[in-house]
Subunit: 408 residues, 2 copies
């Protein structure tokens, strides 16, 4: 029975040497007495290649066929890693989603895992298999079609397998050493965190620290799967993503996240009556616009200004939908104002719940550098602001300094 | 219900444009009222790439994992062709071996098709699907592992589907215009055959005219599947491979085949007693040496010379096995003589059965150019000779002229 899930991302299986390296890491764990489920992504770049082929043929593709095509990248990795394990004398075999099976919803391209059967894999472990190499990112629908879980879905595959098999740990191997207090490419003093709570990780991953797929963190939190983010390029310990109870003391702020390509949209002078916001955001949601922050100013004379943010590459879609809405006369407003030159800066920390003054300190740190704040949004453990994109790097560094994050 | 099977080889789905072209060819058939099963190979070069990755990791690979990896090439083609059909407003969906299912033996890498279920595909045709795009080359074992049918296996997939669905024709789209009286790269006057019998095609494909996989021709002959070999690059009619009855009159010789990389092995002075030949060729077969021609000279004083031919790249393996056999003292011989500079020339024709003098004419034609014959082998409808490789092109042309093949 597998005690350990080891997930290898695209850069960790990018070529033959990296695949052999992954096999060696897995072999070491089997020598520690662990049976292992290894979950693999496609070799770095392959999913993009397949994606490009699909879009070149069919811009508005049938998602079932898209899934059929892109899921092959993980199958190749799984087969090759299995062969590398066998070469290293580790009894292993590969598994595709339908072979396990990993049953998912039929929302192709963003399927939800409904059930994972453990019987087939466990019976092979009982026969002496030491490693099950599972093609990540994919499952199968009740209709026997191949489905995929969305970008970064292999993380979710790994966590779901950990939950299904009751594994004691799920190691996510990637090309960074763990979760940092900020992006080390922007902040040279950024420090690797030894531990981070699920809640913080959730905010960090949805805020643009692209270490883990957000859904995988949610799933880990729900099933209390101990996740470890670590590098496949060295032997450092990485970052453990775990329950709050496992972390002794929490600083107010654990990390600074940023998200580069944001846009801000303001509807000036919208009628302020019930149902208007629902109409606007319902329409945007139907068009798959991922609205993030929403701010509504105080109403004057029955009209108000409404501002929201979304990824900059969705701005055209958003505008089209809002213009349609205006023509349909369900909603009227004076004008639309777009700002496509903004970024989002956030501070995240579970300690924020019990410590005050975090927001004030954040705003002061930005003000000290003359960085103007355009929109503010907060949650229990996070404060986010939109600022001009040119201030992104400066802002992240200022916040990292202000909260003294380079000291552990 | 599908009336037509259309198989597209690697060069016919080599890139986005070729895939769109294939979709257009299929669409034209649906507009003629046909429901179609399209069978695809991997995009040209992809199988070689995957092959190379497998061998780089594991030279003596687990064939089950090899199959898992290489079968992905066809899945990608199937998905992309389906998308191209949908873009052209043709209702289509892709099918992998396990989804149909195409049940095969567990001889991975060279699996035999045991059964093809028609239910799932037919039920989609009944729902309005016009084209089922099937990933060629692959099936699934009773153990739910992905299997492949060996190089060129997509031809076999196509013919087997034609037999299972009772299709009225199976068109094999490739990068040549059909089956020729000789390789047009060697003989400029080579003429495309309008029709050729299964028996002739069988000899031609196993003799190095690499138009169709040999197994696919056997299968077509057994199930009387009318096969048409045609180009996906133009609209010419191609060559129909069919029953002898469908061909009015047979010339003595229909075509000249050649096989470049042959080798000849002679065991000098082998003990001539029962069981010796069985021991030798049994051993070679175990080592997967594909022995082709075998000649045994008249025995003198209880010892004989034994000559056989095999592909030149198997000669090392053959030598190793024969030396082992000698050491084991089961078989002894004076010496081994290798000739790795030979090629095979063959004339093939179903009319040969009723017309005499073909062999004499063949040998004379070669003698006229001073080409020495090293080994001769014959079947009912074929005469093959080994000659020095440097005479290959000259020999093919001489035979083509001698049998007047450029005249229809």
């Amino acid at each position: 029975m597998p005690q350990l899930i080891m997930k290898f991302g695209g850069t960790s299986v990018a070529d033959i040497d990296r695949i052999k390296n992954a096999a060696a890491r897995i072999k070491a764990e089997t020598e520690n007495g662990h049976d292992v489920i290894a979950v693999v992504s496609a070799m770095a770049g392959r999913t993009n290649e397949l994606n490009a082929s699909v879009e070149a043929i069919s811009p508005f593709f049938d998602a079932r066929e898209y899934d059929t095509v892109v899921a092959t990248g993980e199958i190749v990795s799984a087969g090759l890693l299995t062969l590398a394990l066998q070469e290293a004398n580790v009894p292993a075999r590969s598994w595709q989603g339908w072979q396990i099976p990993i049953l998912t919803s039929a929302v192709h391209g963003a399927a939800q895992i409904l059930n994972i059967s453990t019987d087939a894999i466990n019976s092979k472990f009982n026969e002496g298999m030491r490693v099950a190499v599972v093609a990540g990112f994919q499952g199968v629908t009740s209709d026997k079609r191949v489905s995929t879980l969305g970008r970064g879905g292999s993380d979710t595959s790994a966590v779901a397998l950990a939950a299904a098999f009751g594994a004691k740990r799920c190691d996510i191997f990637t090309d960074v050493d763990g979760v940092f207090t900020a992006d080390p490419r922007l902040v040279t003093k950024a420090r690797k965190l030894d531990r981070v709570t699920y809640e913080e990780m959730l905010e960090l991953s949805s805020l643009g620290a692209k270490v883990l797929q957000t859904r995988s963190v949610e799933l880990a939190m729900r099933h209390k799967v101990r996740l470890r983010v670590r590098s496949s390029f060295n032997e450092t310990n990485g970052t453990l993503v775990c329950d709050e109870e496992e972390i002794m003391e929490n600083k107010a702020v654990s990390g600074v996240a940023h998200s580069r390509d944001e846009a801000k949209v303001t509807l000036l002078s919208v009628a302020d009556r019930p149902g208007i916001a629902a109409a606007i955001f319902g329409t945007l949601s139907e068009a798959s616009v991922t609205v993030d922050m929403i701010v509504q100013n105080i109403s004057a004379s029955g009209r108000t200004d409404l501002t929201f943010s979304c990824p900059v590459n969705q701005i055209k879609r958003a505008e089209k939908k809002l213009r349609e809405l205006e023509k349909g006369q369900d909603v009227n407003f004076d004008s639309l104002v777009f700002d496509t030159e903004v970024c989002k800066l956030s501070v995240v920390g579970i300690g924020m719940r019990s410590q005050s003054g975090v927001a004030a300190k954040m705003f002061q740190a930005l003000a000290d550098y003359g960085i103007n704040i355009k929109v503010i949004a907060t949650s229990e453990i996070k404060i986010s602001v939109l600022v001009e994109r040119k201030f992104m790097e400066l802002g992240v560094q200022a916040l990292h300094d202000a909260f003294d994050l380079h000291h552990g």
